[in-house]
Amino acid sequence: MSSATLRVQKISGHAGPVPGEGTQRQQQVAKLIDTTTCIGCKACEVACLEWNDLPFRETVFDNTYQTMPETEWNYWNLIKFNEHTREDGSFQWLMRKDGCMHCADPGCLAACPADGAIVQYQNGIVDFQQENCIGCQYCVTGCPFNIPKFNPHTKKVFKCTLCSDRVGQGLEPACIKACPTGCLHFGTKDDMRDLGQTRVQQLKDHSGFQNAGLYDPAGVGGTGVMYVLHDITNPEAYGGLPSNPRVPWTVRLWKGPLKWLGNAAMIGGLIGVTMHYLRFGPKQVEDRGDRP
């Protein structure tokens, strides 16, 4: 939402270069979410609503502790609760704070046709600029994590900003500040990756989670929100976290080759009819009256 102190490195629907691109490098920031120490208290959900001044909305009870089935346009931070049965029959609570992943290669931004409606700052935060949003919802189709949500009343799309307004002022995101167990961490991407890998090693060495791993999917160029998972081989068990998220290939084809093919075909068509006219001219009818 706020871009005052953050430099932009990518702009949606933008013809031409990004102003000020490459003038200064900034550290990538990242959130690290350790699902193994999350207790599902939802303090982060409340902090998100508080800081972003979102109204508390109706919850949807679905036989779990989860507040609602998925994130909403005015509910950007949602703990997904999963009662997971392991192979040996034992039970495990899997709780994952769901929200925008702040992809290095964001599908929402690739799909967006509106100039400046989605930007990526040089620190890696992907942010929606609602004043430029046209409400087409292509970002909804582009996102592999089902995150952007449409407000049908204002016809704008919303999602987690990674508290870009706070980060721009040197503060950590509101959810991080509220977490009572310290399962949420915020810092540079490198530091968070190191911290995550240390925690993964700890889980393997001391807690018997041989499949523990750090979720930082390469299919979207890595993410600005990483998870420590007990079982990296089965991220789907954590409320549908995709095991290999990618920007849909149809979106890539549509925004890439198809656009240039279409441009060439349209220009070719105009040139073609012009050339036809120059070569053959119009069909004139010599009027011979009403005689057969």
């Binding site: 046209i134 089902n146 979106v251 549509w254 349209m266 068509g269 036809h276 069909k283 057969p292």
Partner: protein, 203 residues
């Protein structure tokens, strides 16, 4: 003069034409960042995005109405296919050597059916693009297919539209007047649509 298009037919044509031009221009604005200015000129991109699907529904209604009125005229016959084999002569303006055709020639019929079927694909894929969140996440393949189908079928209609406008205005003299005033000269009718001419004049 010979009556070629009734007032109703001309009205449908122009409803379809004007609504198509609006969705074409606004659609192009969302198609390429280099054409985004079109949206700005037409009252702003959010306004363009708001009206695009509604005007498209009007276009589709006009196409359906056209189908009702022209269905039998647009049926492709063996006469048309024979005409199609000599399409090179038509392109080279050697019209006297072409086999005679009915009220519409093969090109006009193809144009009609291309717009109709592309319109159906645009309608269905457009509905998905209009309400993507109504497509459940597990069926998101439909969202992914819709973006491709929408732009591909739109590009096909644009190709057809370029040829149609060129032929209706510059190439086939008298065609544009006929869709405005509804009448053609007997010579025009005899040259371009001999079988239709024979039928309506009772020869």
């Amino acid at each position: 003069m010979i009556q070629r298009y009734t007032l109703i037919e001309r009205t449908i044509h122009w409803v379809a034409a004007l609504t198509y031009i609006y969705v074409l221009l606004t659609g192009l604005a969302f198609y390429s960042p280099h054409l985004y200015w079109i949206g700005t000129m037409l009252g702003g991109a959010p306004t363009s995005r708001f009206w695009h699907p509604w005007i498209a529904l009007l276009f589709f209604a006009a196409i359906l109405w056209m189908l009702r009125v022209w269905r039998s005229d647009m049926r492709i016959t063996s006469i048309d296919l024979r005409w199609g084999q000599s399409i090179g002569k038509y392109i080279r303006n050697e019209d006297e050597d072409l086999p005679p055709v009915e009220r519409f020639n093969l090109g006009q019929k193809y144009f009609f059916w291309v717009m109709l079927w592309a319109g159906v694909v645009l309608l269905v894929s457009g509905a998905v693009l209009w309400f993507p969140e109504r497509i459940p996440w597990n069926f998101r393949g439909f969202r992914y297919a819709a973006v491709l189908l929408h732009v591909s079928s739109a590009l096909i209609t644009i190709g057809a539209f370029i040829i149609h406008v060129y032929m209706g205005t510059a190439m086939v003299r008298g065609g544009f007047t006929s869709i405005i005033r509804g009448v053609v000269t007997p010579g025009w009718a005899r040259l371009h649509h001999r079988l239709w001419y024979d039928r309506v004049t009772g020869r």
